[in-house]
């Protein structure tokens, strides 16, 4: 397991793990009732959709891009889901696969524009963000509550996990996405191509890697994850609303970066993103448990953490440049 070894590339991911454990332990010492399996599982239940969205974002960041549309795609998905089952009375089991396919297609379309027309990812996904949010309001300005029996059932169902407690079906779905994403990133040709493009697009091209196809696929993966996240969020909140998931793209980016993904691309781990998202969750839980701290401290702490990890990444990068380890090029390609 090369990925588990402590190198300057894995260090930020390990720091995140240590920090998460420290925060959880600190919370357990300070607040009674914090140290329990269920509090940990609640982190997963409340952040399952964030995790799925952040996993998609991780692929985009690994390829050296960015996807600002994910929050809006989540909102649009909840909206279409709610409208579909409540107003049009479509069976949810038919609608959900369609929604997920639609999300992937939306992402692929953005990837196509980014790749073929050479317009910065930032601008294209920004347009995608406006488009998806706008489409929400075209469907309905108000929130639509979901009362469909199957989805309500899914929202309330709890699956016991040993002595720890219980999780929602959403967590199971997120775990499946996580396992698939780890395999996709580290066990397939596609994953290696994503790392290669993020590391150096020109050399990836010269190596004969399918750069165009891979980049379009990366945005399709992100769109897919965003719409899966949207379905999870719709079921979690049992509603569809155009204002849902505002700023989720920031949480997803923060989760990936705190988990060790380098924003210039080429370096990072899907498992790191899990740590990053859990970290965001534990900050929220700590502030909730404290009770005296206002909710806006969450954003300040997340911002400070983000800054800390950026400085850490940067200083490691600089330290690396001065030492010039010859094996570095090798680890980067196989990481």
């Amino acid at each position: 397991m090369k990925a588990l070894r402590l190198t300057s590339q894995t260090l930020p991911s390990w720091v995140a793990v240590v920090l998460f454990v420290a925060m959880f332990a600190g919370g357990s010492l300070v607040y009674p009732g914090f140290f329990s399996g269920q509090v940990f599982l609640n982190l997963l239940i409340d952040n399952a959709f964030v995790l799925v969205v952040a996993i998609g974002m991780t692929f985009v960041i690994l390829s050296g891009g960015i996807d600002l549309s994910v929050g809006s795609v989540v909102a649009l998905t909840t909206m279409v889901l709610a409208w579909g089952v409540e107003r049009a009375h479509w069976p949810p089991l038919l609608l959900i696969p369609l929604l997920v396919a639609g999300g992937a297609l939306f992402g692929a379309a953005m990837g196509f524009v980014i790749q073929v027309f050479r317009i910065p990812a930032f601008i294209v996904t920004l347009a995608g963000m406006f488009l998806a949010r706008g489409l929400c309001y075209l469907i309905s300005i108000d929130s639509i509550a979901i009362t469909e029996p199957l989805l309500t059932e899914l929202s309330q169902a709890r699956i016991p996990v040993g002595p720890l407690g219980e999780v929602s079906p959403g967590v199971v779905a997120a775990a499946l996405v996580l396992v698939a994403a780890v395999w996709l990133a580290h066990g397939t040709a596609f994953g290696r191509a994503v790392y290669a493009i993020g590391g150096n697009e020109r050399s990836a091209l010269l190596m004969g890697l399918p750069v165009a196809r891979t980049r379009i696929a990366v945005y399709a993966v992100s769109g897919f994850c965003a719409s899966v996240g949207g379905v999870l969020f719709g079921i979690y909140t049992l509603s569809g609303y155009g204002l849902h998931a505002q700023g989720l793209e920031l949480d997803a980016i923060a989760g990936a970066v705190i988990g060790g993904a380098l924003l210039t691309g080429g370096v990072g781990y899907v498992m790191g993103t899990l740590t990053g998202v859990l970290m965001l969750g534990v900050i929220q839980t700590l502030i909730m448990f404290d009770g005296s701290l206002s909710s806006w401290w969450t954003r300040i702490v997340i911002g400070a953490l983000l800054g800390l990890f950026c400085v850490l990444q940067r200083s490691l990068e600089l330290a690396h440049r001065f030492r010039r380890v010859p094996a570095q090029a090798h680890t980067r390609a196989t990481a």
Binding site: V124, G128, F130, L135, S294, W296, I300, V311, L318
Partner: protein, 351 residues
């Protein structure tokens, strides 16, 4: 005579090739559509001692966006980006509102407006806080060497929290009449905010064209290595540029909070960073840095505001605003992308 005709052709050629040609066409088209659909669109009248009309309204509403877009332009020219401006707008508005606050007191049966701190101090503090935010970004980008989008993401995430910290999580209403002049007052018949933006544009244009600063910025954005070798102090330049961008965001924060007479840490300047970046891109400044156009960014801000205003005034449901914006952004980006033009031409000839 030959010289004259040649120069005319050259001017015409450089006009269509100019990065501002297409944005200008879009703006004229937008105004034209408005003029056709709403006969009163171009009518200007004189009411209550100032000009009144849809055009004045658009200019007034576009002023904060223009200010932010101008600051963003120089940041983008250095190959950077500042996505924290929306949060900085909120911080500046929060500082100003918290310091001025103001309350309506009845003294001897007369309504008087009382400030907590005198207005000049509050204004300086708000602008200073905003410039400090910019300096923080500049240190991260220029000093530590973090990529601009992530460096400014930090303040974008934390900034709204800080703004809410200042306002105590509430919307602070301002009860101090003189403050309303900044974003809602009129000087010589025109909105005061427009004068502020014009002054900003004039100073920046002077710095760009009459001093070496413009050249330095374009050089460091166009080719950072060459700029460093030719002795440009890139670090100092980045600190200055990001601080300036923070300052313009602070100015916009004052205009916005003064116009709506309150400061909302959560929603002031929401998505303004995106509009500002759009304005800069629409105006023909490349996100890859290098050459930049101040006029273009002002043009871009006007396009965005005209679009928003026309959607409202034409009775189109405002929900469509975002969709239309997406389509326009997409279209302008496509027109500006050489690859897209080549691709479309190829398709055209193949068909």
């Amino acid at each position: 005579m030959k010289l004259a005709s040649e120069s005319v052709a050259r001017v015409a050629g450089s006009m269509t090739r100019s990065a501002q040609f297409w944005p200008a066409v879009v703006l004229v088209l937008l105004l034209g559509i408005n003029g056709v659909l709403n006969p009163n669109f171009f009518v200007l009248s004189w009411r209550e001692g100032h000009l009144y009309g849809a055009l004045v309204d658009i200019l007034n509403r576009a002023a904060p966006l223009m200010a932010v877009a101008l600051g963003m332009t120089v940041v983008i020219a250095t190959r950077g980006i500042d996505i924290s401006v929306g949060a900085v707008v909120a911080i500046s508005a929060a500082v100003a509102a918290a310091l001025i606050g103001g309350s309506l007191k009845i003294v001897d049966g007369q309504q008087t407006y009382v400030t907590l701190t005198s207005m000049p101090i509050a204004l300086v503090a708000a602008l200073g806080a905003a410039a400090l935010c910019g300096l923080f970004n500049g240190v991260l980008v220029g000093g530590v060497g973090i990529q601009p989008i992530i460096a400014t993401l930090i303040l974008m995430v934390a900034g709204r929290g800080i703004a809410q910290l200042i306002t105590g999580g509430q919307i602070i209403t301002i009860y101090y009449r003189p403050y309303f002049f900044i974003g809602g007052g009129y000087l010589l018949g025109l909105p005061f905010s427009l004068w502020l933006v014009s002054a900003l544009l004039a100073i920046m244009a002077w710095l760009k064209h009459r001093t070496a600063l413009g050249l330095f910025i374009q050089a460091s954005g166009g080719n950072p290595a060459a700029a460093r070798l030719s002795g440009i102090n890139a670090r100092g330049l980045l600190l200055a540029v990001y601080s300036f961008c923070g300052f313009t965001a602070g100015l916009a924060g004052l205009m916005i909070s003064s116009n709506v007479k309150s400061a909302d840490g959560n929603n002031a300047g929401l998505l303004l960073e995106l509009d500002a970046i759009l304005a800069v891109t629409l105006g023909g400044t490349s996100l890859l840095g290098g050459r930049f156009s101040l006029r273009g960014s002002v043009l871009g801000a006007l396009i965005i505001q005209t679009l928003t205003t026309s959607i409202y005034s034409l009775g189109v449901p405002p929900e469509i605003n975002l969709v239309v914006k997406a389509v326009v952004v997409f279209a302008v980006c496509l027109v500006q992308s050489p690859e897209a033009r080549a691709w479309l031409l190829r398709r055209g000839t193949a068909a």
